[in-house]
């Protein structure tokens, strides 16, 4: 029986904890050392947790700290398990559930943005339509020939999804997405002196 097993709840505790799946965004500050991402990902696959989105980059060069942003789905109990399991990894400095933190600001989500590069080919009316729509979405053209555009678009994941859906019938060729970057609202930081 494992943590991800939804049956692993006692009758005692069914009354208080809902079974509803929630999507949470976690920020994880880690030492930027070889294998650290494998530890994080291995934890998710080994324990059967979901990864909806993952982005990672070194954010503090002097201290060799990276910030991993993970969007995951699970019951509140599983999300709490994920947080504790991540915290147990030796090179993990801090884990923060940004979705829980956002609730303190009466928001259902933290600040989240994603960037996508979207390649569209076509000619004639479809090509014009693609260009018009990109302007509506505030996407910028970063490469073009007479046969194609590459758009750069930034925004919430839902906006990017929508943009890609719209481009599909207009000659969508390929997409590259960064995954979600996220920060908390308010003046407090996660990676400054706080830990």
């Amino acid at each position: 029986m494992n943590a991800q097993n939804p049956d692993a709840l006692s009758a005692y505790f069914l009354a208080e904890v809902s079974d509803t799946q929630e999507t949470h965004t976690l920020s994880v500050i880690v030492d930027n050392e070889p294998g650290v991402l494998a530890r994080v990902i291995g934890l998710f696959s080994g324990r059967g947790y979901n990864i909806d989105s993952l982005s990672v980059s070194e954010t503090e060069h002097e201290r060799h700290l990276s910030r991993v942003t993970i969007v995951t789905t699970g019951t509140p109990q599983i999300i709490e398990q994920i947080r504790h399991q991540l915290d147990r990894l030796v090179p993990v400095h801090r884990v923060r559930d940004l979705t829980v933190a956002a609730r303190r600001f009466k928001q259902d989500k933290p600040l989240e943005r994603e960037l996508a590069l979207v390649k569209v080919t076509g000619s004639g009316e479809k090509r014009l339509e693609a260009l018009r729509l990109s302007e509506a979405f505030k996407a910028t053209v970063i490469d073009a020939t007479t046969e194609h555009f590459v758009f750069e678009i930034t925004g919430r994941s839902s906006k990017i999804e929508q943009f890609i859906d719209i481009m599909r019938p207009l000659g969508l060729v390929e997409v590259s997405r960064t995954g979600v970057a996220a920060l908390n609202r308010g003046p407090e930081g996660l990676s400054s002196q706080a830990y």
């Binding site: 029986m1 006692s10 880690v30 398990q81 915290d87 090179p91 993990v92």
Partner: protein
């Protein structure tokens, strides 16, 4: 202390600085420089095993019986992969283990070189942490950090993978002092939150039907934790049960002892868990062998959980008062608060204990005695009589014999019981007994085994002979993988698929072939003399105790059933056994 030395010298110096006296290992190409240093010094003894898995389990036995970290040293590739079972075993049971592996030289890493494997990749999920040392400058820090991580917080196994060129390279050695005063990201908790502890003590003071559910965390926390547990029980008079891993923390002869709980625990322990109004879980983790059916687990209790690992809390069972902290520290606070508040247990506790006595009177460990064949339970009762009051360490393999040993051997002190609980590793017992014997040369180390399990690491008999160690292996020989057979009877219409071992070796001759001594006993009345002789015999012994072949291990909570639905030995007719597990239970392990 800072001075220039090679990587291999650093390994030895670091082990010395970590006060390591014994290393269990097996040489090979990628660790030759370290072995070359080993032979040129006398501070650290090396115990040469016959298989790397044996080195791992021996180091575990050493660690469990001393509370100190066990150290293993193996080569790259197969040396490292043979350690994986032992590492996972140590991970599941939270045993401090430092495993040093050799690796191919850094310039060959990733080239599929001879005896190369991705050791840190393979061992990542089965260690608390692991390191590949790429530069000599990092080596001393990493080794000291490895010991710190393995032994603090919730203990566990770590691997330090050292490429051969790093072993040859020269660098500056640093002692352990400067390194882990404050680790940059790893800071395990010690003290529990006082508000929570106070709330827990107050809750206990109002309890009418309390029970203490203790686990391996009490043992891992050190001897002080066991002392404080005993003190707390003495203060409150609350009944105590324990998981398999926690046996010995509270003495089996203690007045409040309920016996082990869980799948093969006593009726009184499981009924007390089911009926309690306040449960305090101390260093245990609500494992599925303990809880049985979760939605019927202790339905009417308030629960307190003390654990050093926050991820254990609310993982399986929701608790009302979580306390994150080291067991000894938290118990110390609890004892102090109970005393200073002059709490006394409620009068209803007396009625609760009378109820428990009624459950105890069911005598759930009973079995049908026999004068013709040796009942396995009887054999262990005789063994228990023979070792009473002696300096004895008991290890086990995995299966029926393990559960019977837990039921019938009385543990009075912590660190005397070495068994593979979480991972259930057959082949654990003999090397673990060897490890315990290395740490306690004058004690009697007995491995209670089954005929199937013992064959999984039988080669370590040779290790015992070479190093003058005297582990006694007490084999309950029924020619079956008894627990597998029992489950086939329970779940699969008694179709005994491949659980009978034809052509077992002659264990007496096998012992002699290794240079040890063998005994065979087939009659109950021969047992006492033979056991006495086994204990008195110097050197390793294989004791072939031929027992009733088809005995089942009871009591038992069948899979998918709750604590109050135990199958008791006097009710376990063939029909009851055949129908004990429902459809849903069959899917569980």
């Amino acid at each position: 202390m800072e001075r220039e030395m090679t990587g291999a010298e650093m390994v030895l110096q670091a082990l010395r600085d970590q006060e390591v006296k014994h290393v269990f290992g097996y040489p090979g190409g990628a660790v030759l420089p370290i072995y070359d240093e080993l032979i040129q010094q006398d501070d650290i003894a090396h115990i040469l095993v016959r298989h790397e898995q044996g080195a791992g389990h021996a180091a575990e036995g050493y660690a469990r019986s001393t509370g100190k970290p066990g150290v293993a040293l193996v080569t790259s590739g197969p040396g490292a992969t043979n350690m994986v079972t032992a590492l996972t075993d140590a991970m599941l049971d939270s045993i401090p283990l430092v495993c040093i592996t050799g690796q191919v030289p850094t310039n060959l890493v990733g080239s599929d070189a001879f005896q190369e494997c991705d050791t840190v990749g393979i061992t990542r999920p089965c260690t608390k942490h692991n390191w590949l040392v790429k530069k000599i400058e990092d080596l001393p820090r990493i080794i000291h950090e490895a010991f710190y991580v393995a032994t603090t917080g919730r203990p566990g196994p770590v691997v330090v993978d050292i490429p051969k060129d790093v072993q040859f390279a020269t660098g500056t050695y640093e002692g352990p002092k400067s390194i882990h005063v404050q680790h940059k990201s790893y800071n395990p908790p010690t003290k529990g939150d006082m508000t929570a502890i106070r709330a827990a003590v107050e809750l206990l003071a109002t309890a009418q039907r309390p029970v203490l559910y203790t686990g391996g965390g009490v043992i891992n926390s050190g001897p002080a934790a066991s002392q404080l547990l005993r003190e707390f029980v003495k203060l409150t008079g609350f009944p105590v049960t324990s998981t398999l891993m926690g046996l010995g923390a509270y003495p089996a002869s203690g007045p409040e002892w309920l016996g082990m709980l869980g799948m093969h625990g006593t009726y009184e322990a499981n009924m007390a868990m089911h009926g309690c109004d306040v449960m305090i879980c101390i260093g245990a983790r609500f494992d599925d062998r303990i809880t049985g059916r979760l939605d019927a687990f202790s339905p009417n209790s308030k629960k307190v959980h003390i654990d050093v690992d926050p991820s254990s809390i609310n993982k399986i069972v929701h608790v009302d008062i979580p306390i994150v902290g080291d067991v000894a520290h938290v118990l110390e606070d609890m004892v102090r608060i109970w005393r200073s508040s002059s709490f006394t247990p409620r009068s209803e506790v007396k009625i609760w204990k009378q109820q428990i006595d009624k459950w105890r009177a069911r005598n759930s460990l009973a079995y049908r005695p026999s004068e013709e064949v040796i009942m396995p339970q009887y054999a262990l009762q005789r063994l228990n009589e023979a070792i009473k009051g002696k300096d004895v360490y008991i290890s086990t393999e995995v299966g029926q014999h393990q559960m019977w040993a837990a039921q019938f051997i009385d543990f009075e002190e912590p660190n005397r019981w070495l068994t593979s609980g979480g991972f259930g590793t057959m082949g654990y017992g003999l090397p673990a007994a060897i490890g315990a014997q290395v740490a306690h040369p004058n004690a009697t180390c007995i491995n209670v085994a089954g005929d199937a399990s013992i064959l999984m690491n039988i080669q370590e008999m040779s290790t015992a002979v070479q190093h003058g160690l005297s582990p006694k292996t007490f084999i309950l020989n029924n020619s079956y993988m008894g627990m597998v057979r029992q489950w086939q009877q329970l779940l699969h219409g008694n179709r005994l698929s491949h659980s009978y071992t034809d052509s077992l070796p002659d264990f007496v001759k096998l012992a002699e072939a290794y240079g040890g001594k063998g005994f065979r006993v087939t009659k109950p009345d021969e047992l006492d003399d033979a056991i006495a002789e086994m204990i008195a015999t110097p050197g390793p012994v294989l004791f072939d105790c031929c027992v009733a072949q088809l005995a089942n291990c009871f009591p038992m909570i069948p899979s998918g059933k709750a604590h109050n639905e135990m199958l008791l030995p006097d009710e376990a007719t063939d029909e009851a056994v055949a129908n004990a597990i429902g459809k849903e239970g069959k899917a569980l392990v």
